[in-house]
């Protein structure tokens, strides 16, 4: 490797990592937190069989899962202004990622809630608890344990998918890399560099997932099912 390449890598590293910390991570964390809220609400609506709303949720999941994420980003960022709805790039990306991931996680959460044996609910009723109390204290904690590994997977996917936000002018890690590459033409070196940073982020999440699983398993009596 020439000295020039090394120089470029060294000077670009803090800038790319900086955008990662300042943009990619907040974008992921915000979007994923919202996605979880959407997912739990959608799952509860489907399980409690709320009339009308249930059809709406099915429709939303159908649309989101049947269209590409990139197309959704373009639709909202470049398409909606035609209707007079103009959002800045970052909130727009958060909204699209949250809605997109929310649809997938809704299915994960629903499956996890449905996997909790019906007897747990009945035992709760028999000791006098209400539906909401049983859901909150008995069913959801058990479902969360089941959903934790697949949700961690979704989070890892999302970290990488945020690179798509570069397409709608969000200045995250990948866009920063593209800019440096555009100026220096060191594509191989720079894209390798950003790949390593993504890998680093995902490794940290995997590591956190392990710790989380161990914690959850010790809080639940130890018979956690490893996915």
């Amino acid at each position: 490797m020439s000295e020039r390449v090394i120089n470029i890598l060294v000077t670009s590293f803090p800038r790319i990592l900086g955008q990662g910390i300042l943009v990619t991570i907040p974008l992921t964390v915000l979007s994923f937190a919202l996605a979880l809220v959407i997912a739990v609400i959608c799952a509860m609506i489907q399980i409690a069989d709320v009339k009308g709303l249930k059809q709406l949720v099915r429709f939303y999941i159908w649309i989101i899962r049947g269209t590409p994420l990139l197309v959704q980003l373009y639709l909202v960022y470049f398409g909606l202004p035609d209707l007079g709805i103009m959002l800045p790039a970052f909130p727009c990306a958060v909204a699209v990622f949250a809605l997109n991931e929310g649809a997938y996680c809704a299915e994960t959460v629903r499956a996890a809630i449905e996997a909790v044996p019906k007897g747990q609910m009945e035992a709760g009723y028999c000791v006098g608890m209400s539906y909401v109390q049983i859901m909150r204290r008995i069913v959801l904690p058990q479902a969360f344990r089941t959903a934790f590994p697949p949700l961690s997977n979704s989070l890892i996917s999302m970290v990488k998918d945020t690179s798509l936000a570069a397409n709608i002018t969000v200045m995250e890690m990948f866009m920063e890399t593209q800019r440096v590459a555009g100026r220096t033409y060191e594509h191989l070196a720079l894209y390798s560099e950003v790949a390593v940073i993504y890998l680093l982020f995902c490794t940290v999440i995997t590591w956190l997932q392990r710790m989380g699983e161990r914690k959850l398993s010790s809080m639940n009596g130890g018979d956690v099912i490893h996915a």
Binding site: C126, M129, N220
Partner: protein, 249 residues
């Protein structure tokens, strides 16, 4: 204390309970016997409103209720006086033994934690499991889980406990311990309705017997009369077939 008449329940058009009557007084232990599929579990579930009956009138502690038209609030009020023990225990798997017992007291009855824990430890002690209070259900044997479930039932100080085949999911060597606990409750005057296939236990512990077959109560009478002076040929046949099984065929 608890009287039911004309209890009916159908699933998908198939009538499972075809007008069942029963009555028990305080301190009674009613054993529900009968062949498999006769509707015993369905009866018990209707009595605690885990299933909504299609028809039936219940008089409980002097209050008359239409079993097919209970509001959620009525059911919640009724369940403050009852407890249910399931065939497969149904302990809350994310809670320790102690928490399983305190959960209903603290969350549903708003009892202060300290008081609930004292009561729970007393209940666990009574089933011989005070030393397992911090164990999760997955770390307990079936027999221990069922005893915790009984402690959970007792801790609410119910007027009546419903038990659906409390020992039939257990390995043979664990059955005795659970039956002993139930017997000690009976000796202390706890009112219970127990579905069971343990004939010896029914004979020893119950005060009355209800015999269910094909959705009907063929008999509801004093235990001694049921076993010693049984008039119905059908029931005598059922008892004979069980005796034969006990003889090891």
């Amino acid at each position: 204390m608890l009287e039911v008449s004309g209890l009916r329940k159908a699933f998908d058009g198939a009538e499972i309970l075809k007008g069942v009557d029963l009555s028990i007084d305080r301190g009674d232990v009613l054993a529900v016997l009968g062949p498999s599929g006769g509707g015993k579990t369905t009866l018990l579930r209707c009595l605690n409103f885990l299933e909504q009956a299609d028809a039936g009138v219940m008089t409980f502690l002097g209050e008359r209720m239409d079993m097919s038209a209970m509001s959620r609030r009525d059911i919640a009020a009724y369940r403050r006086h009852t407890a249910f023990v399931f065939q497969n225990f149904n302990l809350f798997s994310n809670k320790t033994a102690l928490q399983n017992v305190t959960e209903g007291l603290i969350v549903a009855r708003k009892m202060p934690r300290g008081e609930a824990e004292d009561r729970a430890i007393a209940a666990l002690d009574r089933v011989g499991l005070a030393d397992k209070k911090d164990a999760y259900p997955s770390h307990l044997s079936g027999g221990q889980q069922q005893r915790v479930a009984i402690a959970r039932a007792v801790a609410g100080q119910p007027d009546v406990i419903f038990l659906d085949e409390p020992t039939s999911a257990l390995d043979p060597e664990l059955i005795g311990g659970v039956l002993d606990v139930i017997q000690s409750l009976a000796e202390d005057g706890m009112t219970m309705i127990v579905v069971t296939h343990e004939i010896g236990f029914a004979r020893r512990v119950s005060t009355r017997v209800l015999f269910m077959e094909e959705g009907r109560a063929l008999a509801c009478q004093e235990t001694a009369a049921f076993f010693e002076e049984q008039k119905l040929e059908r029931i005598r046949m059922f008892l004979r077939s069980l005796n034969r099984k006990d003889d090891g065929i």
